[in-house]
């Protein structure tokens, strides 16, 4: 091939600029500390980076969920522990009352009313801004016996331990005077009564109450007259679900009705007995309530076991999520930053190559020409 001066210069320029480009690539890798600075540097690697980043952020979220669930469960455990002790206390009273209350009727009444109110308070515990035991409805007080009758109607929530053919509401006015009763039926679980304000008086006549604030007491029985546990639960049967991994969720029971109705119902029974002031009634109520209180205590214990099971499984999940997140972080940094030693070696290799290219270009530009000798 015939070589001309222009060819030599063109070639020098071509290789110089090519070498400069390679040097600049190596410099970017070293300076940024990242092997992949744009998707085209390594399309598959860039895709992996996105995948790992979003997986890591997901694991972080699972960890947050798990931490939250843990706190939630610990709070729940504290509530149930207190209810547990209160029920133990109530059982002691009931056992004593089974052999008569005598002169202590009033003392018993106030103690047991205290227990009732304490359990209501505990069942109305809030976590953050939410009621813990109101099911889906986290805004309204789960256990409340207040009724606001307005325009001749009011919705009353209640909870039944089993299907009941007779559910009797005793309505009291704001001064605590009984205004009459209202009878309906209901199914096991949460119920809502759309009440029109009508009550049946003691003499069997019916009247409609005027708008205003009232409170209510509730009792229920099946068709054979057996008492059914009931409570003034305003919430629903919803649970709380949390994602703790891609595929698994945990459910935390929030249905206060299910957890507390048996206990509240049994204690109401004691109170009703004591309020009659009649020793015989007190004794029979107390012995019936003892049985219900045992069942209630069992319910609470079962719930506590369920919580501790979730707690244990959360622990395992937390460890797993931590391990996975760490593993992915390592992989991510391996892809993103590559091997720093390799980058440093590459940079110095390209620097040397560039030096050689410039030297060669300088030599070519200074090559002797025929004119030097003629």
């Amino acid at each position: 091939m015939r070589i001309t001066n222009k060819m030599m210069i063109n070639n020098s320029i071509y290789w110089l600029s090519k070498q400069a480009e390679r040097l600049s690539d190596a410099e970017i890798v070293s300076a940024s500390g990242q092997v992949i600075n744009k998707p085209s540097d390594d399309p598959a690697g860039a895709a992996k980076i996105l995948e790992y980043r979003s997986a890591i952020s997901k694991y972080d979220q699972y960890q947050t969920n798990i931490d939250q669930a843990n706190t939630y469960i610990e709070t729940g455990e504290n509530v149930l522990d207190s209810v547990d002790s209160l029920l133990d206390e109530a059982i002691d009273y009931a056992t004593e009352m089974a052999s008569g209350a005598g002169d202590y009727t009033e003392t018993y009444l106030s103690s047991i009313k205290d227990i009732y109110n304490s359990i209501i308070d505990l069942a109305n515990t809030t976590y953050g801004s939410d009621y813990m035991y109101g099911g889906t409805d986290t805004d309204s007080t789960p256990f409340s016996d207040e009724i606001a009758l307005s325009s001749g109607s009011a919705d009353i929530g209640f909870y039944l331990g089993d299907d009941a053919s007779t559910v009797t509401f005793t309505i009291y006015d704001s001064d605590g005077n009984e205004c009459g009763t209202y009878t309906t039926s209901g199914t096991a679980g949460s119920n809502t009564l759309s009440w029109d304000g009508s009550v049946t008086l003691e003499d069997g006549t019916t009247t409609t109450l005027s708008d205003g604030d009232y409170t209510f007491g509730i009792t229920a029985s099946d068709s054979s007259g057996n008492a059914i546990a009931s409570s003034c639960y305003q919430g629903d049967d919803g649970d709380k679900t949390m994602y703790i991994s891609d595929s698994s969720t945990i459910k935390i029971n929030r249905t206060g009705g299910e957890i507390f109705t048996e206990a509240l119902s049994a204690i109401s029974q004691l109170i009703a007995g004591l309020e009659t002031g009649d020793d015989e009634t007190i004794e029979s109520c107390a012995s019936a309530a003892t049985e219900s209180l045992d069942t209630a205590l069992d319910n609470i214990k079962t719930e506590r076991v369920a919580l501790s099971n979730i707690y244990a499984s959360l622990d395992v999940s937390s460890d797993r999520v931590d391990a996975l997140s760490e593993l992915l972080s390592e992989k991510l940094s391996a892809i993103e930053t590559g091997d720093t030693t390799e980058a440093a070696v590459e940079l110095s290799a390209q620097e040397t190559a560039y030096e050689i290219a410039t030297e060669a270009a300088a030599k070519i530009l200074n090559l002797p020409k025929l004119s030097d000798y003629i």
Binding site: M1, N11, Y14, D41
Partner: protein, 459 residues
């Protein structure tokens, strides 16, 4: 006597011929660095012998019979074809890199991040469905996601509009070049007729052909009169003799983008956008289609996001106990936005179902890992977006390497052409030394003849 005077004529022809040869070499050296210059060679040949008899053969001297450009039309054709490919891939690469910049996630902020944050906000809300902080964080993350999608779409639109402007520019460039080629054709025709040297015009025309082929793929041939006719690869004539046909640009009524047109002999515009290939123009048209693909892909992602999130949200119940409204408004990437009423009142976020306070929030958060139908494929939003990032990455990577190969090929043909047509100052100098020697010798002969003549006269 006659033999001395004829010998003097022979010596004179040698002196004259060497002067022409030195002039040619001189002119070559002068143009050693001129772009597109083809070196010129002069052919000297012995003049006809004039002999009275074959036994007394003597030469009559030398004359320069032709001065011609050294050029290789085959190499020029190869160079033009390589130029068309290189022009196409380098133009395409430029715009693909613009698209790539829109999808660049190397800093960790982008759509992928915005998607993650959006779904994370739903999970946080699921943990505390009544929390007002969680609600407002969700609304602002959702706005962030929507505006990220809007911005990416707008950026792609900007790239597309930029390409459209460049297409008009390239069409103008092409028209300028074809006009010059037609003009040179005319000059060459006239010069040839009057016997004037056309090398300079031909060099210029070759350069223009090379430049034209880097703008758009063309085919050309030289007719009997030495004029070059140029056609687009679809057969539409750009230069025919001394006439050039202009390309034009009109706005496509459907796409709102530019169409390339060609004026037929009746002066009517014929749309030829689809049949243009190669060169910068071909690369620009290809890249514009590619941008459209990515815009459509992003659109499909946004449409699916709107559809899936709204479908779940509308079955939910908000914090005031009302049925959920549409979470996102809009139909695609250009107009996706968080419903104004939700922006104004975060309580309208429907996190609950009728039985569970956080069911809808959990379900929407769960969309992050759910394969949904997007653009005929089934993928999670993240997977779909990641596939776009890796697709543009691969396209840029492939185009970079093909662009490098093409430009190497151009360099190879340029070198080859230079090897044939370029000036080597060493060659020319060596020749000049030779011509100088011959000149000196012929002058010596002249002086000897002069002495001979003087001797004769002094007899």
């Amino acid at each position: 006597m006659s033999s001395i005077s004829s010998a003097m004529n022979t010596a004179l022809s040698a002196l004259q011929a060497q002067q022409i040869l030195i002039n040619v070499a001189n002119s070559n050296i002068a143009n050693a660095s001129t772009d597109g210059y083809s070196r010129v060679t002069a052919v000297a040949s012995a003049t006809n012998t004039s002999s009275t008899s074959s036994s007394s053969y003597t030469g009559t001297g030398v004359e320069v019979t032709s001065v011609s450009r050294v050029s290789d039309s085959y190499t020029l054709k190869q160079l033009c074809s390589a130029n068309a490919d290189a022009g196409e891939s380098s133009a395409e690469l430029e715009y693909l890199e613009d698209i790539e910049a829109v999808f660049d996630e190397s800093e960790g902020s982008g759509l992928s991040d915005a998607l993650s944050e959006f779904f994370t906000a739903w999970e946080d809300l699921a943990n505390d469905p009544a929390g007002s902080t969680e609600r407002s964080v969700l609304v602002s993350d959702a706005q962030g996601l929507a505006s990220t999608i809007n911005e990416m779409y707008e950026d792609l639109e900007d790239v597309q509009t930029g390409i459209d402007d460049d297409i008009s520019q390239t069409v103008d460039d092409i028209n300028g070049i074809t006009e010059q080629i037609a003009d040179l054709n005319q000059k060459i025709l006239q010069a040839t007729a009057s016997g004037i040297d056309t090398s300079t015009y031909e060099d210029e025309r070759d350069s223009l052909l090379t430049e034209l082929s880097s703008k758009v793929k063309v085919a050309y041939y030289e007719d009997d009169s030495g004029q070059i006719n140029v056609q687009l690869s679809n057969g539409k004539s750009l230069v025919s003799g001394s006439t050039s046909h202009d390309l034009g640009v009109t706005t496509n009524a459907t796409t709102g983008l530019s169409d390339v047109t060609w004026l037929d002999s009746d002066g009517d515009e014929v749309v030829i956008t689809g049949s243009i290939s190669g060169g910068e123009l071909g690369g620009e048209l290809d890249a514009r289609d590619t941008v459209q693909d990515y815009m459509d892909d992003l659109d499909a992602l946004a449409a699916s996001l709107i559809e899936q999130v709204n479908a779940l949200h509308e079955t939910g119940i908000d914090a005031d106990g009302n049925a959920g409204v549409a979470f996102f408004t809009g139909t695609g990437a250009s107009d996706i936005a968080v419903n104004d009423s939700i922006v104004n009142d975060a309580d309208l976020v429907a996190a609950a179902s009728s039985t569970d306070s956080s069911a809808i929030a959990v379900a929407i958060a769960g969309l992050e890992d759910t394969k949904v139908a997007i653009n005929g494929t089934s993928a999670t939003f993240e997977e779909y977006y990641t596939s776009l990032v890796s697709k543009i990455g691969t396209e840029v990577e492939n185009t970079t390497s093909s662009s490098e190969t093409q430009s190497d090929l151009v360099t190879y043909y340029e070198n080859y052409r230079e090897s044939v047509s370029g000036v080597s100052t060493d060659d020319e100098l060596a020749n000049i030394v030779l011509y100088q020697n011959v000149y000196e010798a012929a002058a010596k002969v002249m002086s000897v003849l002069d002495e001979l003549l003087e001797t004769m006269i002094n007899i």
